[in-house]
Symmetry: C3
Subunit: 333 residues, 3 copies
């Protein structure tokens, strides 16, 4: 595997093989599988879970990793092409990225959406620009529009709990958050659930519809897998018979990149905080998922998050296990 | 071993076994003992020695570690229960701690005293709160009232130098410091020296008596070990025949948590800087110990610290060796 | 090897052996060569490449490393001798350095020039002061006047590309930079190229001559190796028949440590930006080298840096490979 960037690049069988490998490595540790192998981790955006889970994953397989963030370079990294660098930044990504890549056998890069242009972010222009500078196997650790490691872990989490794939109802619900957040997790999540063959319902308030590009791609996956992808603003309708509610906030797509308009729009939406009444007509065993970090009392109430529905902790732990499988396949073949 | 939190949780024989293991690992390295094992290190307070010595300890045993501090999460970690998280912090310890724990085979946590309430700090309420979120073996890397890794290293240091346990005189002396410091090191130190069977004298100015809870616990240990624990404000009396002076500053306990009152009280105590004359009636081979970091010319003079009495460097090196033993026993059984 | 501080401490044969070892480790990885070995890395100045390449180097050889920077200690590290530490810093290098050293089997230290006194910097007083506190094998990761890891990598890079040693023409050219930079790289570079037996030309504007100490030392090396060392301000003359142009900015040596005078002097020198016309009378295959980080459009134009002459990326990758050889020899003997 030369790139782990988008679940859509893989067949359902390939995903299945990765998940089996994750399971095997959990049951039968291979503490020397990657001995002498090095993973370089470039964080252009902050991280806690991703950094920890990748470092732990390499360690469990007998390899090692190192972490680079822009503040390690003198005055940060310049990203603009063709610029005369007489300002603060002393180094350009055109040198920093290939050099860091060259010290590892594989590389992970995180670069959140800039949220200036929806077209640029949907095309994942910044990440693709960075990726073009890397000639070792590359893992997307969250870009403007992708978070494949999260989605592979989410898939595993549902398999672990035997949540049905065919005819499983998966609700991806927008949730309130004080700040406008990227589209990466919702885009990856809807794709993942569609590929898994689930009946995916995107639930969101007006102005926050997922872009058609994302929905169309997920619908194409659903046609192959036997699933479906729909959208609604009606909470009761969405939750009817749901197996999973996956909560996540994201930017206004109507006013994408317009901070003030987004703010005005979301201010009215404080009641999009997942709470017990949401589950009234869901399945009795409907589970709550979230990629973390999560704001308690804002995105979801304490009683849901601390209650038996919540599977956010095994979901987060699966980050490490899913990534172990990706690294094992990438670096050991 | 499932928890390394308080030397008082262990018998003298168990401590002895750990110290023997430390010695064995020093003589006969086991560079594959912990292969594939991962230690997660959560620093809610700053660290240099503890971070370095734990990372080195895991590396020497063939395992690995990763380091998390709150600034890695977006806007830090929330600790208050039941709060609506619409402020800066984007993540709560109730998610962060168990997730980080789940990536490791064991976890270390550091969280200094908040020094608001003496009762809370003596009960180690914050650390116990964090510990309740962890379900892997846990190491206290300094909490409000415990620093067991330091104390195990200190014990080893005295063994290495054949400082007598029975009838060895151990003076724990308060020292000047411009800021109010936590009680963790003095509390752990007095307990350690009492458990080792030494005659422990706590030497401090008025207003800085160690709380009775700490003294009583140490006295109970002394009854078992055949040592003793006393207190005095008289330097000459304390130092009479001393084998060890262990210097450490701590908060006013009279005005605990009251920054201004503490400041006023300590301003008069600039002469509590360990210097040659302190040793006049001590044993000729009386040693100087300190857990570091130490302020030169404030806590102790250069001539003492750079002189033959000072054993602060082997003491600091023993941090790594003592922790190797703890990790080995925790993770290999 | 107990110290890797200055290429001049080694014979050409010893350098040759290191470079052969680097080549061998690249061809035949030894992922268990340094198992259980620990490298401590102390960065008193910022780093990206050096940190990453050392961590990767240890990982590839089966060892591990940890990183310490002063901000990990409470309020930083004090460096002045004999001071009463009642200010911000809570720890002195006299404790911090030997303690950190004692956790590793070898240590790397980076401490950039203070650029107050040219004599002090030429004598590498700060680094030597730090080095005197270390009793394990020590690697200079860039001091006021040395950057031996960079120079070993540069030597390897020219060997890899079969740039002639005897009769190879090596131009070290000053380049514009908005800030005054240290002398470590130019000093190490001129020494390296002279030791390699090349005809070294230092090209710089008035006021930026390399100090005689540096030039004399390089000339002595050239006498042994059959090379030569000259200086000029004439770009055409310097570049005539050049195999290599190595660009690097450095401080005014006329006004060393005088920030304003240096600034006034360099402001006139914006045209010292390496560009295509510089190569007019060089060899057709003349290569461009730089230690990175490099300011695009300031030190060198995009078309040179992105063109076929530039070998800055393999040069940077060789940092890791050269350091693997140093570490292997230091820690395995």
């Amino acid at each position: 595997m030369n790139r782990f960037n988008d679940l859509a690049d893989f067949s359902r069988e390939e995903i299945g093989a990765l998940l089996e490998l994750a399971e095997r490595l959990q049951q039968q540790p291979e503490p020397r599988a990657l001995e002498g192998k090095v993973l370089s981790l470039l964080f252009l955006s902050p991280s806690l879970r991703t950094l920890a889970s990748f470092q732990a994953a390499m360690g469990r397989l007998g390899g090692s990793s190192f972490v680079i963030s822009p503040d390690m370079s003198i005055h940060g990294l310049e990203t603009r092409p063709g610029i005369v660098m007489d300002g603060a930044a002393a180094e350009h990504i055109r040198e920093a990225v290939p050099v860091i890549a060259s010290y590892g056998d594989a590389m992970g890069i995180r670069a959140f959406a800039e949220r200036r242009s929806l077209q640029d972010d949907l095309a994942d222009r910044e990440f693709e620009n960075l990726a073009s500078l890397v000639d070792v196997p590359l893992i997307n650790m969250e870009s403007a529009i992708q978070h494949p490691c999260q989605s592979l872990a989410d898939w595993k989490t549902m398999d672990d709990l035997e949540v049905p794939a065919q005819n499983g109802r998966f609700v991806l619900s927008w949730a309130f958050h004080p700040r406008a957040l990227p589209l990466a997790v919702p885009a990856s999540t809807v794709q993942m659930a569609a590929m898994r063959g689930m009946d995916v319902v995107v639930l969101n308030p007006p102005g926050f519809d997922l872009p058609e590009t994302i929905m169309d791609k997920a619908r194409a996956a659903a046609r192959v897998s036997g699933g479906s992808v729909t959208q609604t603003g009606d909470r009761r309708e969405a939750m009817e018979g749901a197996h999973i509610i996956y909560a996540k906030s994201w930017s206004s797509t109507q006013y994408y990149g317009d901070r003030l308009a987004d703010q005005a729009q979301r201010e009215e939406l404080l009641d999009w905080c997942v709470d017990d009444p949401w589950f009234e007509n869901a399945r009795a065993d409907c589970r709550f998922m979230h990629c973390l970090p999560v704001r308690r009392g804002v995105v979801v109430t304490d009683r849901v998050l601390d209650g038996p529905r919540s599977i956010v902790l095994p979901e987060a732990r699966n980050r490490m296990l899913a990534q172990m499988a990706v690294l094992h396949q990438m670096l050991q073949g």
